[in-house]
């Protein structure tokens, strides 16, 4: 707490920070060839947010098409390509790698008191696999026209279209390997490199979340890789695996696709859940309520999450028994998420809450994630899902979960850890007001989609019936407000990380290990290996009961 009061000019510059080049390479090469987990994390972050920006621009254009019915802005072919690219870029290049490769890379070793991940070179290799995969996907844009299958590449359409699907799918395949290798790296790191004294139940909850996520990455991603390979084989060699006329089964593709892509949702949401616990524990100045329940619910979500993929296919024509079992399991997976939410609220009880920007992001998350999660109950129920699947309702639901839940916490985490990463602070007042702007924009953008979906507006339509015009317009205005907020946020964060006032090791009064080293940390992370005595959220000054 002491250094909060210290004026910025009195804070000494950190000697040998990871931002200085000390190795044999100079300039850009010192970054591109670095195996330092912190530098790799920053490089990922630059790439991810570049793709995010592209995805946002595509999203804005998708909305803009709805300014009037009839698809007057873009012809159907272009609109279909836009939503495919928006999905592929956002899902495979932004939210799936997401928090683990960026903040996970940077903070996992710091939080467990390690010098680096278990396999630093493999880590750099994963980064380049990601870059190569992304480059391959982007190449698909320039060969045979833009892919227009939607991000799910459903067969048989994806086998028939003449656009660059094969290349795009192969790119996703490569990115998948990056994901698997990162998962293996993190698992080994967590198992082997924890500081002395850090038993499993003394690990920060972000580490628990990364642990659960890594298992999902390792076990689920190969299924995607195999599925995508089968598409490539079908397209290139004409093998009829998914072709009903040749004895194959198109629904088999959907099974294989969702066996990966549903657990992938938990790859997207588990890490943010971990960060929510971190931020709440820091800004309430007390220990988290139900630590073990939160840690175990991450594992429960990861486990049950494997068994619910069929809820994407309730109208695909599975058997009634399959529909029933998948619906049942889907409701079960809601329970651990609910438990987490209740524990987070209970963690605020009798805290000493300092609502700094990261905490405000958590409050926004609680609203948006709750709406997203509860709307998921509507979709888990068979009767309502049959009506609402493939409508705007689903679009609203998963944007509330992934964007409102996951990505808002990604932003919150940037506000939380940026002072640690760069040793400087952004403008907190701008950050807080800007969050309000983004929150309003977000709800204007996505909430009308729940209503339109219920009224029967199908997704992936370049046109709509006139009665949807008002709702579409509210949603479009929301998208502009949200984007304005995003721009202000990024400018504030980038400006803060370069020019902001300097901060000391622990500007928020956090209790986990990353706050016990310099801001920015040195190449070695810690001057000497830390020894862990207390549970992760032990606030010395707090009363105990």
């Amino acid at each position: 707490m002491a250094d909060i009061a210290l004026p910025p000019q009195d804070i000494p510059v950190v000697e040998g920070s990871y931002l200085e080049n000390t190795g044999k390479h100079k300039g850009l090469a010192a970054w591109l060839l670095s195996t330092d987990h912190k530098r790799i994390g920053i490089m990922y972050m630059i790439m991810l947010f570049s793709f995010f920006s592209v995805g946002v621009v595509l999203g804005i254009l998708l909305r803009l098409e709805m300014i009037s019915p009839g698809g007057k802005l873009f012809p159907p072919q272009v609109y279909n390509a836009l939503f495919t690219l928006h999905g592929v870029i956002m899902i495979f290049l932004f939210v799936i790698p997401g928090i683990p490769v960026t903040l996970g890379n940077f903070f996992l070793p710091l939080q467990i008191g390690a010098r680096d991940v278990a396999f630093p070179r493999l880590n750099l290799f994963s980064f380049y696999l990601y870059i190569i995969g992304a480059a391959v996907i982007l190449t698909a844009l320039f060969v045979n026209g833009l892919p227009d299958t939607g991000w799910t590449f459903y067969v048989p359409y994806s086998l028939r279209t003449t656009t660059g699907v094969t290349i795009a799918v192969f790119g996703v395949f490569i990115v998948g390997f990056s994901s698997i290798l990162t998962g293996i790296n993190f698992l080994t790191t967590i198992h082997r490199l924890r500081a002395p004294g850090m038993t499993w139940f003394k690990m920060p909850l972000f580490v628990w979340a990364l642990y659960a996520t890594s298992w999902v990455q390792i076990i689920a991603t190969p299924v995607l890789a195999i599925t995508l390979l089968l598409i490539v084989i079908s397209r290139v060699f004409g093998v009829g695996i998914f072709n009903a006329a040749a004895g194959g089964d198109p629904v088999l593709y959907q099974h294989l696709f969702w066996i990966y892509s549903h657990p992938a949702v938990y790859i997207m949401i588990l890490p943010p859940m971990g960060i929510v616990s971190e931020i709440i524990a820091t800004f309430t100045r007390r220990t988290i309520f139900g630590y073990k329940a939160i840690a175990m619910s991450s594992l429960a979500i990861a486990f049950i999450g494997y068994l619910v993929w069929g809820h994407h296919m309730f109208v695909a024509g599975m058997s009634q028994q399959a529909d029933m079992i998948f619906s049942f399991l889907t409701f079960l997976v809601a329970i651990p998420s609910g438990i987490k939410v209740f524990n987070w609220v209970a963690s605020m009880y009798k805290g000493s809450i300092d609502p700094q920007p990261p905490f405000l992001f958590v409050m926004a998350f609680m609203v948006l994630f709750s709406i997203g999660g509860l709307s998921g109950l509507v979709l888990g129920s068979l009767a309502t899902d049959v009506h609402l699947t493939a409508t705007y309702f689903v679009v609203a639901h998963f944007h509330y979960i992934i964007f409102g839940g996951g990505v808002f916490i990604f932003f919150g985490a940037l506000h939380y850890w940026l002072p640690k990463m760069f040793g400087r602070m952004y403008d907190k007042k701008i950050a807080s007001w800007d969050l309000l702007v983004m929150f309003i924009g977000f709800n204007l953008l996505y909430f009308p989609m729940f209503i339109m979906g219920y009224e029967g507006m199908p997704r992936r339509y370049f046109t709509y019936l006139p009665q949807f015009e008002t709702m579409q317009h509210i949603s479009i205005v929301g998208s502009w407000i949200l984007v304005a907020g995003l721009i202000v946020m990024f400018v504030n964060l980038i400006h803060g990380s370069i020019k902001g006032p300097r901060v000391g090791p622990n500007p928020w009064g956090g209790t986990t290990l990353e706050w016990k080293t310099a801001s920015p940390p040195t190449h070695e992370n810690f001057e000497e290996e830390p020894v862990v005595i207390h549970e992760p959220y032990y606030h010395e000054e707090a009363l105990t009961r």
Binding site: P76, Q77, N80, D148, T149, P156, Y157, T161, A244, A245, V251, T284, R285, R286, T287, F289, G290, Y291, A293, V315, A316, G317, Q320, S327, F331, L332, I335, G338, F342, M348, Y349, K350, G351, S352, I353, D354, P355, S370, L374, L377, V378, G380, S381, L382, A383, T384, V386, Y454, G456, P458, R459, R460, F462, T463, Q467, Y537, Y538, E541, A542, L543
Partner: protein, 218 residues
């Protein structure tokens, strides 16, 4: 929750399930969010400079695990029950073949008559035999809260019971390429005598619909 007009009992059942889930959800949402906001104000660091660390409370944690579990299982059950209505084909159902192709629907009746608009008699259960002639499509009747994917070389069933006269939208909801958004037609519910006269006539003309005596949705 009556944003769409009712077209049959099934739609009402779906809306009832929807209402149950949405109202329970709003209550849960308010409990969580209001509690959070109250805590943030009440335990602001200015008012409460010293926090109290409470690591957990087993009875409380059991309570908020069990109650939501019971609640979601109830949601599961009502959803499952209403869903069975459209999957259980009644004995007296009239079969109609539904063909989907890029980018239109067509329909074939028992006696081989074909149309591009779906004509059905009021009050008689219809067993839609849904099939695609190319890629995957979805046969969606918003006013009936029903949809079913159309798969190539596979037949899937969906039961529709039209209980009101009227003209209803039929749209495709499984992305199927260029003009997916334009793949739509109408379902017209006729008085059963009108329907019978038309289906049994040798004329290939489609039935004349007197719009005056029917409700028009959309």
């Amino acid at each position: 929750m009556r944003l769409l007009p009712y077209a049959l009992n099934h739609a009402q059942a779906v809306d009832d399930v929807m209402r149950f889930i949405v109202i329970s959800s709003i209550i849960l949402f308010l409990i969580v969010i209001v509690t959070m906001v109250v805590f943030v104000f009440k335990y602001n660091h200015k008012r409460n400079p010293r926090a109290t660390s409470i690591p957990g409370n087993v009875p409380l944690e059991i309570f908020w695990t069990v109650v939501p579990t019971v609640l979601v299982l109830a949601m599961f059950y009502v959803g499952w029950e209403a869903y069975l209505q459209i999957r259980t084909v009644p004995k007296n159902a009239m079969p109609v073949k539904v063909f989907a192709r890029q980018w239109s629907f067509s329909f074939e009746y028992m006696n081989g008559k074909r149309t591009d608009t779906l004509y059905v008699p009021k009050g008689r259960p219809i067993d839609c035999l849904i099939k695609s002639l190319d890629v995957i499509h979805s046969f969606y009747l918003p006013a009936f809260r029903e949809k079913q994917d159309a798969l190539p070389d596979r037949v899937r069933h969906m039961v529709v019971i039209p209980e009101h006269l009227g003209i209803f939208d039929v749209v495709c909801t499984q992305y199927c390429g260029l003009d997916h958004a334009l793949m739509k037609t109408k379902m017209i519910v006729l008085p059963d005598t009108t329907f019978d006269r038309w289906i049994n006539s040798s004329s290939t003309a489609e039935p004349k619909v007197a719009l005056g005596d029917s409700t028009i949705y959309f």
